[in-house]
C-alpha cells in the first residue's frame, strides 16, 4: 500500500528526525512569523464568530473581542425556538446512513472487481469509472424532476438514496484490495470459505483503515451538503443543518440575528471538525488511494 502511495506522489510518512542537512540550517525566524500570521488570519474569523455568539445585536457594535453576557439568550433561541437540535438529528441520521450505506455498497462492488471474474467485466468497470466525470451538481435539475416530482420523495430518502452508490468508494476499495496478497484469498478458498465468509472474516478486518478513510470523506460530504437538500426537502422538520441555518438568519422581535446565527454556525461546525481532526490521516490516505485508478 505504501508503494502505491509513493507512486501517487503522496506519502504520509513523516521523515522528521532523519534530516541532518535541514537541521543544520539556521533557525528561520521568518518562518515562524509567516506561520503565526497565517494561523491568526485563519483562526480569527471563527474566533470572532464564537465571540459574537455570546452577544446581542447592540453589543456587536462595541466590537469587543471577549465573550459577553448574551450566550444564554442566544442559546435558548437557537436550541429551543429555532429547533437546531432537530436539524442536527436529521443531519446525523442522513450522514450516518449515507456513509454506512456507501461503505457497504462500495465494499461489495470493490470486492467483485478484484476477486471475481465475470463476462463483460471491463464494460461494468467503464460504466462505474465514467460516473467519476459526471458531477451531480450538473444534473441536479433533472435529478430533482425525478426524485422530487416523479417519485415524490422529500425527506431522508431523497437525501440518501440517490447518493448511496459511490464510484469513489468503489475504486478506493478496489485499489485497497488489489494491494492485498493473493495468498489470502487462496488460503481462504482452500479452507473452504465462501465469498461471504471471506468478506466478513478476512477482508473487513484488514480494511478498517480504508473504511475509515471513506467514512471521513463521505461524512464531511454528507454533513456539508446544501444545494440538493435545499431543492428537494420540502418538509421543514426534515431539513439538514446547513439548510436549517437559514432559519437562524431571520431576526427576533428584538432584532437579534447575528448572535444566534453565529452560535448556530459554531455548533453546526463541531461534528465535522471533530471527525476531520480525529481522522486526518485517514482522510489523506483516502485521497491517495483513489488517486491512481
Amino acid at each position: 500500500m505504501d508503494v502505491k502511495r509513493e507512486e501517487a506522489g503522496i506519502s504520509l510518512a513523516t521523515t522528521a528526525g532523519r534530516r541532518p542537512w535541514r537541521q543544520r540550517l539556521p533557525k528561520r525566524w521568518y518562518a515562524h512569523v509567516i506561520l503565526i500570521v497565517a494561523i491568526l488570519i485563519t483562526g480569527f474569523p471563527v474566533y470572532y464568530a464564537a465571540v459574537v455568539a455570546t452577544q446581542s445585536n447592540t453589543q456587536i457594535f462595541n466590537y469587543q473581542l471577549t465573550p459577553s453576557t448574551y450566550l444564554a439568550r442566544n442559546w435558548d433561541l437557537v436550541i429551543y425556538e429555532r429547533q437546531l437540535p432537530r436539524y442536527m438529528v436529521n443531519s446525523v441520521i442522513v450522514a450516518l446512513v449515507m456513509t454506512t450505506g456507501k461503505a457497504a455498497l462500495a465494499l461489495l462492488a470493490g470486492m467483485a472487481f478484484v476477486f471475481f471474474r465475470f463476462p463483460g467485466k471491463w464494460l461494468v468497470f467503464g460504466f462505474v469509472l465514467i460516473t467519476l466525470m459526471m458531477p451531480t451538481e450538473v444534473m441536479a435539475i433533472a435529478l430533482f424532476r425525478l426524485v422530487g416530482i416523479r417519485l415524490q420523495w422529500g425527506g431522508y430518502d431523497a437525501m440518501v438514496v440517490p447518493f448511496i452508490a459511490s464510484a469513489t468508494g468503489t475504486f478506493l476499495f478496489r485499489q485497497h484490495f488489489s494491494s492485498i496478497p493473493a495468498e489470502l484469498s487462496e488460503a481462504a478458498q482452500i479452507d473452504g470459505a465462501n465469498p461471504l465468509q471471506f468478506l466478513w472474516r478476512v477482508l473487513i478486518p484488514i480494511s478498517w483503515n480504508a473504511i475509515a478513510a471513506l467514512f471521513v470523506i463521505q461524512f464531511l460530504y454528507a454533513w456539508n451538503q446544501y444545494l440538493w437538500p435545499l431543492m428537494v426537502v420540502q418538509e421543514p422538520t426534515l431539513r439538514p443543518v446547513q439548510v436549517g441555518l437559514r432559519t437562524m438568519r431571520s431576526g427576533t422581535e428584538t432584532g437579534d440575528s447575528f448572535g444566534p446565527l453565529m452560535l448556530g454556525a459554531v455548533l453546526v461546525s463541531l461534528p465535522p471538525l471533530i471527525v476531520f481532526i480525529a481522522l486526518q490521516k485517514q482522510f489523506m490516505s483516502g485521497f491517495a488511494l483513489t488517486r491512481d485508478k
Binding site: 451531480t136 451538481e137 446547513q242
Partner: protein, 412 residues
C-alpha cells in the same frame, strides 16, 4: 425540410472517418495486426464515425439542420448541429478504434484486470459477484445515468416546474443563452472567481506549506492549526464572512475606520463583492491545499536538495528546478479539486454571503442554474445552462491536464 439531408451528412462523416482510419492503418509505424487489414479498419472507422454522428443528433431528429417556415436555415443552429455531429463522431470513433485496436493486438480490454491467483471461480461465484455489483449499478443507472440523459432531453424542451406537459423546441434554450448578454456576464463571473480562487489558494498554500513542513519548533501545532477550515462547509464560511465584511456591523470596516479612517462596501459594491467571495473561498479551501502540499514536500528527496545546495544552487533555484517539478502531480490534483470547488461548491457560500448580488456581480453559473430552474421554474433553460457548465468544467479540466502533462513528473 432540412438545409442538408441528414443522410448526406452521415455519409460525409462516414467517408471522413473511414478515409482517416484507412490512411492511419497504412501509415508507417502502424501496428502489423492493423496494417494487414486496412479495408476492415477503414470500414470500421466509417461505421463508428457515422454511428457517433447519429448518436447525438438522431434523438433530436436532426432539428438543428431544419429550415424554418420561410425556408431559411438558422446559421447558429447549423453551427451547433455541426459541432454535435463532429463531437459525437470523434468520441465514438476514438473509443471504438481504441478498443478494437487493443483487441486485435491481443492486449485484452482495459479494466478487465489480469487473472489474479486467488480469484473465486465457478458459476456460484459469478452469481455472487453479480449480486455484489447489482446495488451500485442500479443506483448509478437510475440516479446518475438517467438524470444525465434527462438533462440532455430537458435542454431541448420548453419545460416548466409544475407544468405537466413539455414541448420540443430544438436548440431554442441554447440560442437564447448564447444571445443573452446576462449569460455572458455570468460566464465571466464564474471564470473570474475560479481563476483567482485557484491561483491564490495554491500560491498561498504552497508558501505556508514551505514554512510548515520542515522540522520546526512547534511544527505539529502549526500544522494542526492551519488545516481545519476545510472541514467547515461553504455555508459556514459564507455566514462567518458575512459577519466580518458586513457593511455596518462588520468588524473589518470598524478596524479600517479606526486605523485609517475609511470604510469599504465589501458586500454592496459590485466591483468589490466578487473579491469578498474570493477571499472567503480561499479561507475555506486553503487548509485542504496546505495539507496536501505538506505531504508532498515531505516526499521531496533530501539528497537531491542537498546535492544542489552543494553545487551552489540558491534557494530559489532549488525550489523552481527541484521542488516545484516534483510537486507537479499534487499541484495538478489540487488545481482540479479547487476548480471544482470554485465552479460548484461556492454555491452555499455565495448564497449566504451575497445571494448572487449586488447587481448579479457574484452570480455564478451554478447559482444561476438554481435561480432559473427552481426559483423561476424554467427547467428547460436550467438544463441547458447545466450542460454548458458541464462542458466548460470538462473543457477546463482537459486543458489543465494537457498543460500539466508535459511538466508532470510521475514516480518517486
Amino acid at each position: 425540410m432540412y438545409a442538408v439531408s441528414p443522410l448526406i451528412l452521415l455519409a460525409l462523416v462516414a467517408l471522413a472517418g473511414g478515409g482517416w482510419s484507412a490512411w492511419r492503418a497504412r501509415a508507417q509505424g502502424a501496428d502489423p495486426a492493423i496494417r494487414s487489414r486496412p479495408q476492415l479498419w477503414g470500414l470500421l472507422g466509417a461505421a463508428s464515425a457515422a454511428v457517433g454522428a447519429a448518436v447525438l443528433l438522431a434523438p433530436l431528429n436532426f432539428c438543428p439542420f431544419e429550415l424554418d417556415g420561410d425556408g431559411n436555415a438558422d446559421q447558429l443552429n447549423v453551427l451547433i448541429g455541426i459541432f454535435l455531429l463532429v463531437a459525437g463522431a470523434y468520441l465514438v470513433h476514438r473509443v471504438v478504434m481504441l478498443l478494437v485496436g487493443r483487441w486485435l493486438r491481443g492486449e485484452g480490454l482495459p479494466g478487465a484486470g489480469e487473472t489474479r491467483p486467488g480469484t473465486f471461480r465457478g458459476p456460484a461465484a459469478r452469481l455472487f459477484a453479480l449480486l455484489c455489483l447489482a446495488p451500485t449499478l442500479t443506483i448509478l443507472a437510475i440516479f446518475l445515468y438517467y438524470p444525465m440523459f434527462d438533462t440532455f432531453q430537458l435542454s431541448t424542451q420548453l419545460a416548466r416546474l409544475g407544468a405537466p406537459r413539455t414541448r420540443f423546441v430544438c436548440m431554442r434554450n441554447f440560442n437564447q443563452l448564447l444571445s443573452d448578454p446576462d449569460y455572458g456576464r455570468t460566464l465571466l463571473v464564474s471564470f473570474f472567481l475560479a481563476a483567482f480562487i485557484v491561483v491564490f489558494s495554491l500560491a498561498f498554500s504552497l508558501l505556508i506549506a514551505q514554512m510548515a513542513y520542515r522540522p520546526i519548533t512547534g511544527g505539529r501545532i502549526y500544522r494542526a492549526l492551519l488545516v481545519w477550515p476545510y472541514a467547515l462547509s461553504p455555508v459556514i464560511a459564507g455566514i462567518i464572512f458575512q459577519l466580518l465584511f458586513h457593511n455596518t456591523a462588520g468588524v473589518l470596516n470598524h478596524i479600517l475606520d479606526t486605523l485609517f479612517g475609511f470604510e469599504v462596501s465589501w458586500l454592496l459594491d459590485p466591483s468589490i463583492a466578487p473579491w469578498t467571495v474570493i477571499v472567503a473561498s480561499i479561507w475555506n479551501i486553503l487548509g485542504f491545499c496546505i495539507l496536501f502540499y505538506i505531504a508532498g514536500l515531505q516526499n521531496v528527496p533530501d539528497d537531491l536538495l542537498e546535492a544542489a545546495a552543494i553545487d551552489g544552487a540558491s534557494a530559489w533555484q532549488r525550489f523552481f528546478s527541484i521542488t516545484f517539478p516534483l510537486l507537479a502531480p499534487i499541484t495538478f490534483f489540487l488545481v482540479v479539486t479547487t476548480t471544482t470547488y470554485a465552479f460548484f461548491d461556492t454555491y452555499g457560500l455565495i448564497d449566504f454571503l451575497t445571494a448572487g448580488g449586488p447587481v448579479e456581480s457574484t452570480t455564478t453559473m451554478m447559482y444561476e442554474v438554481f435561480e432559473v430552474g427552481v426559483v423561476a421554474r424554467n427547467l428547460g433553460s436550467a438544463a441547458a445552462r447545466s450542460l454548458l457548465l458541464f462542458g466548460i468544467v470538462i473543457g477546463v479540466t482537459i486543458v489543465q491536464f494537457r498543460f500539466s502533462r508535459g511538466r508532470v513528473m510521475y514516480g518517486s
